[in-house]
């Protein structure tokens, strides 16, 4: 699975936003949305970022998509810093990295026919016209399981699941290497979710795609990904191969997260839950950001005052916790 050079490398990514301000005064506080996150995505694999709301997973995705510029840190694609690309490489990068967003209702222009939505990147980036464009659009519709005659329809004529298929077809148009999937099925019904998840797995195999999957659903992450990073309030707390994460999680937050998932099996009761609320990225807790909710904190001054460093707890398995050391 692992190849020599990773496709995408995120190193020490930091993104701070100015905090809420009012009319009269600029805010002096910072929202530390992402505060030092590192991971890599290997070619042909799925890396999942999982965490609760406000943990910064979508901000990471936006930085990868060049929709935000990092405050600090480097994002490298095939070894090149994506924020320092020359014009040609930048165009190439925008070809190679595509996205599918959560809401298929707001991510498709309601006034455009489906064939124009899917064809737009081909016209803009590759100057494709006429018969060639038509054939390619029909092929893409077929790839995502839609009948090519639906190309002349408008988005409102499709259900949520079909719209998500259209969004996937658009992402595939330029034959990308990496697709950022930001909660790709959370707006869909259960039976439709399975269709889309299966489609994404099939496409990955067929085209050798890599996915950066952003999700809060731990069952979907386990099903889809090869490696997983768990985030909490702007920090990554644990990073490992999928199998290790789900059988041998070491960080107390990961454990709590896994225990909180209601299993669709009446014989497996929910585990111990943790108290308290998710901390705010404005004035996050000092030291380990999880310490106010941590079940094993026990008033340790180290947890309260010192940010935990990464420890390698097993091959390809890292965790940032003072209490759980290898």
């Amino acid at each position: 699975m692992a190849v020599s050079e990773p496709l995408l490398e995120v190193e020490g990514l930091v993104k701070h936003f100015p905090g809420p301000s009012n009319l009269l005064q600029q805010s002096s506080v910072l929202v530390k949305a992402v505060d030092g996150v590192s991971f890599t995505v290997d070619e042909g694999t799925t890396f999942a970022l999982v965490g609760e709301s406000g943990c910064g997973k979508t901000t990471v995705a936006k930085n990868v998509l060049l929709l935000e510029r990092p405050t600090a840190g480097v994002i490298k694609f095939r070894g090149k810093d994506i924020n320092r690309l020359n014009r040609r490489d930048l165009k190439e990068y925008k070809h190679t990295v595509q996205a599918v967003f959560q809401d298929p209702y707001s991510s498709l222009n309601p006034r455009m026919q489906v064939k124009d939505i899917i064809g737009e990147p081909l016209r803009v980036h590759e100057g494709m016209r006429g018969r060639r464009l038509q054939t390619r659009v029909a092929e893409l519709l077929d790839n995502v399981g839609l009948n090519p005659v639906t190309g002349s329809f408008f988005p409102h004529q499709f259900s949520g699941g079909q719209r998500q298929r259209i969004a996937i077809a658009r992402a595939l148009a330029l034959q990308p290497k990496l697709i950022v999937l930001d909660e790709p099925v959370s707006g869909l019904d259960v039976s439709i979710r399975a269709q889309i998840l299966n489609l994404l797995v099939d496409l990955q195999e067929e085209f050798g795609l890599s996915y950066l999957l952003i999700s809060h659903d731990l069952a979907i992450v386990e099903h889809m990904s090869h490696r997983v990073g768990v985030m909490y309030v702007g920090k990554m707390v644990e990073l490992s191969e999928k199998e290790d994460m789900y059988s041998d999680a070491v960080h107390p937050y990961t454990k709590a997260l896994l225990a909180s998932v209601p299993r669709p099996n009446p014989d497996i009761a929910m585990g111990l839950t943790i108290s308290g609320e998710v901390a705010s990225p404005i004035n996050p807790p000092t030291g380990c950001r999880f310490h106010p909710r941590c079940p094993i904190y026990q008033d340790s001054p180290e947890c309260r005052d010192v940010q935990p460093e990464w420890d390698q707890v097993a091959p390809l398995h890292w965790s940032a916790c003072h209490k759980v050391k290898p």
Binding site: S191, P264, P266, T273
Partner: protein, 331 residues
Amino acid sequence: MTEMSTTKDRPILLDVKDLKTYFFQRRGVLKAVDGVNFTVRAGESVGLVGESGSGKSMTCLSIMRLVPKPAARIVEGQILFNGQDLLSIDESDMREYRGSKIAMVMQDPQTSMNPVFTVGNQVEEPIKLHLKERGAQAMQRVLDALRAVRIPSPEDRVKQYPHQFSGGMRQRVVAAMGLATSPELLVADEPTTSLDVTIQAQFLGLIRDIQKEHGTSVIWVTHDLGIVAQMCDRVNVMYAGRIVESAEVQKIYKDPQHPYTKALLDSVPVMGARRPRLYQIDGQPPDLRSIPTGCSFWPRCPAAMDICKTEYPPATHLGGDDFVHCWLAEK
């Protein structure tokens, strides 16, 4: 759950019989609820599971008699609550039930509270209205209700407004509003969909504790098969406005009878199950304005037979309160 074996012998609190709630639109009649039958026993947790448009929320709104008027109307059926048909009483009598004997927690804690009144004010309202308590006595009950849903320092919190509460706390306050009058039945319509997973776990644990203490019956409306497995004694699976299968929770997860129930259970990723591929129900749920004749699931059913296309299968009773509507079970 563990008490499951005992709930099936308890008296019936709510008996919904052949409930039909239709929307009358220019483009035709939309049959949101089309002949729903189920019971809730005292202290029982009953799940209504289904995808969007299956009629689960509209069933609940019908029980509360809160269907959006004039677009929708309850056209047929009975809703017996302790033997009294709620559909045959006056609106003023219905108010005696709504909020006092039957309470509801809705999906979105953002919109189910009034932003311009303090939290204390809003929790106090059902207490004033239904328990006819005033002043210090009512306030004491408000504080107790907030303490019961584990709101820290409720004495200060009652003076605050909803925007000063987090999403999880707001949903607990909404639950406190519902539970303040000690209702016999709580209708929870996807109460945790907007909550984070650790906060959801807290809320589920809270409702379970309250239920254990007060013996409240709960109707859980959800599309999440995990929540149903954890919270319910009985599961009703809805499809296109009807309950297609009803069974005890252990039975439905181990031995589902209806092909739709089976498909639903096989189509979700399950942690630890390592499913190589998800079962895929092809097609879409039907348009409720033109539900297929016969069994509404047949166009998507892997086991459809000729009879399925023409006649709706009657209920096959499977012992206890369990039943399934499928021609396969009929044989």
